[in-house]
Symmetry: C2
Subunit: 401 residues, 2 copies
């Protein structure tokens, strides 16, 4: 049993403090966030698969890989510290070390993360100066400020928490994230930081996070891009005293709750995608294999022609079927059926049952589902995407200016 907490965030979790401030990387808005746990946390992380990895990604990934324990995560927005070479690496290490020193912990106990413009030198001195300002502000109510400080072109802050009832008591999962452009499977430019007061052994925490990320952040698309800076981390400090043990009913319950948080974050990221006006759930069913279900889900979610049609409320199922045919999956076009919410649009053998008016009504809603039944197997996959609007172009044509 779990339930979402209103105004939840990373600091809804016992033993977690956070803060978010403006330190000068951006022109005006908050650009530095710090999340700190009272005690050492086991940690899991998922990182971008782009071969071009930002400096903080390389450093934080190594900590997770070495099964390190961490106490804090420091995040700046406004500058990605990506494509900045050796200088960028030194800047990242510097920001990590200064933060660790000021918190009185080891550098390897501080994860770091950056998001923003690629290829510009990180103004690391501003971040270091900011540390003296942010550390005194750390508080159990600072989660929303931290959520504010990690966003870039996001229109809304993204922050959630759930309370999970387990056999040995209650534990909480808190989270903040940022998304917007360059979102696609393999976690394009998005950051998500999850905290929990459950006790989760290092041996199982990565598996837990990976399974949730696969069904949430890895199933969303804004524009088919994957960024240089994406990361999702889960820090577990055990402050609730409730332990999650492998193979138990509690484990399953806890995984469901973590999954719910991850899906909520993923959906919020898509619905706040650059220029997005609609959140579309793509349900692919009855594929031959799981891989095929994913190929079709991804192809439809990434198709500019599908996304522009949905922007215009146009029931252009032909583009959906064409995207499926292009996906690389083993599909038999004649067997495909398509519906929008509960409204059947296309039945097998290309029997068109489209009621344009009813379809337009559904496609004009801010949320709806596109259901594609491949009818050749038993595997399914759920994806989330948004429409492609003129505003997407505006935002991205002028991003750096």
């Amino acid at each position: 049993m779990f339930q979402f907490v209103s105004n939840g965030s990373v600091t809804s979790v016992k033993g977690i403090k956070a803060a978010g401030i403006f330190c000068g990387v951006k022109k005006r808005k908050k650009d530095l966030a710090l999340i700190v746990s009272d005690s050492l946390c086991s940690v899991a992380g998922t990182f971008t698969l782009n071969k071009v990895k930002a400096a903080p990604i390389v450093i934080s990934k190594e900590i997770v890989k070495q099964n390190g324990k961490v106490k804090a995560v420091l995040v700046n927005s406004g500058n990605a510290n990506a494509c900045t070479g050796e200088e960028g690496r030194l800047d990242a290490l510097k920001m990590q070390k200064e933060c660790a020193d000021k918190l009185g912990v080891k550098p390897s106990e501080v994860l770091i993360s950056s998001t923003g413009v690629i290829g510009q030198k990180l103004p690391v001195e501003k971040i270091i100066a900011g540390l003296d300002k942010i550390i005194p502000l750390l508080s159990e109510k600072g989660g929303i400020d931290a959520a504010n400080a990690i966003i870039t072109t996001d229109k809304k802050i993204k922050s959630f928490a759930v309370k999970v009832q387990l056999s040995k008591g209650e534990t909480t999962i808190g989270s903040i994230c940022k998304g917007s452009g360059m979102i696609m499977p393999n976690m394009a430019t998005m950051l998500a930081f999850i905290t929990t007061d459950a006790k989760i052994d290092q041996s199982i925490i990565q598996k837990l996070l990976t399974s949730c990320v696969n069904e949430s952040f890895n199933k969303i698309s804004v524009d088919g891009e994957t960024s240089t800076n994406d990361m999702v981390t889960l820090m577990a400090n055990g402050a609730s005293g409730v332990e999650i043990l492998k193979g138990t009913k509690d484990y399953k319950e806890y995984e469901s709750a973590l999954m719910a948080v991850c899906k909520e974050m993923a959906k919020t990221i898509v619905s706040d995608g650059e220029g997005a006006t609609k959140l579309i759930q793509v349900n692919v069913t009855n594929a031959k294999t799981q891989a095929d279900a994913n190929l079709v889900g991804r192809a439809i979610s990434n198709s500019p022609l599908v996304k522009t049609a949905l922007n215009g409320g146009d029931a252009n199922w032909g583009r959906i079927v064409s995207a499926a045919g292009n996906s690389g999956a083993d599909v038999i076009p004649e067997k495909i059926s398509v519906s929008f919410n509960d409204l059947a649009v296309l039945k097998p053998n290309f029997e068109i049952v489209l009621d344009e008016k009813k379809a337009f009504k559904i496609l004009s809603q801010p949320e709806f589902s596109v259901n594609v039944d491949l009818n050749v197997g038993k595997e399914s996959s759920t994806w989330w995407t948004c429409d492609f609007s003129e505003e997407y172009i505006k935002i991205n044509a002028d991003y750096r200016t």
Copy 2:
């Protein structure tokens, strides 16, 4: 030696007649084209790889596969006859047979092709009625009318011809094509019909066409989509008496000319891409393998973030490097250098030498090149893409309405 002919088209070629008319598939504009050769032609073709293949694709592909000889190609625009099931197949066969009967040839000597909206029944009776109108209009000057009749959202007609001087005399290659949205490697929604009066044996014509298509139509991107209806055909009627024999100098010369025609068509398709305002040549050099060079070229050409940045004249090289890193190719980010035309922007080890003003000037031109030197091998690849403008969204949000 070859040179482009002014106002060239399929009918610049000896023994080729064509016409283009309005028959009622579209609301007003020309929608039916017919190209007929005086004598039987050997034929080659390349067809969409989308698993969802329009009815005419299946039929025409079979003719090419069976090494058939053809006399004509009949094309309608306004309706793709795709996702139309068995009824669509019968309609396609009907349009082929009626055309053959009226020309006094076998159905298997008539290639057919359709382009337009997917998933709507082909108004085949209108096409058949149109045959009585179009056949009397067939003429040696009808190429431009035919070019007009095959376009959909294209803003310009696309029609070219070259004269090739070979050791045994002169031969001509003529062409018409249509493109616009859904263009991407593997020949997305585009049609190209090439005629030649060279004599080319059936045993080598396909190889000749395939090699040219690979370096032209398969290296362009408007929006990363691949349609259900794409096809390129080459019909050779031998009317010039000039024969192209394998392994000869003439073969190479002729191939260069055919390649030039295909590249010209491909570039025109991109520059007339839906909402395109700029034609961008992407040169990828010094990749480890040819496949890697193509992966990087395709990734950059298809990236919405790169394409929107170029729309805004924004020298956002970080997005270019990020796309390369995401392409799946074996790249070493630190070794990449980037230039726009002759202007160096990024040197290895992320040394930024960008002059924003000079870059903006280049990126504001209607044509320029983006050069990406991977610096890890010796293979290269050239692609063509266009920018992504707000107009692309407008066109595609309202396409069917």
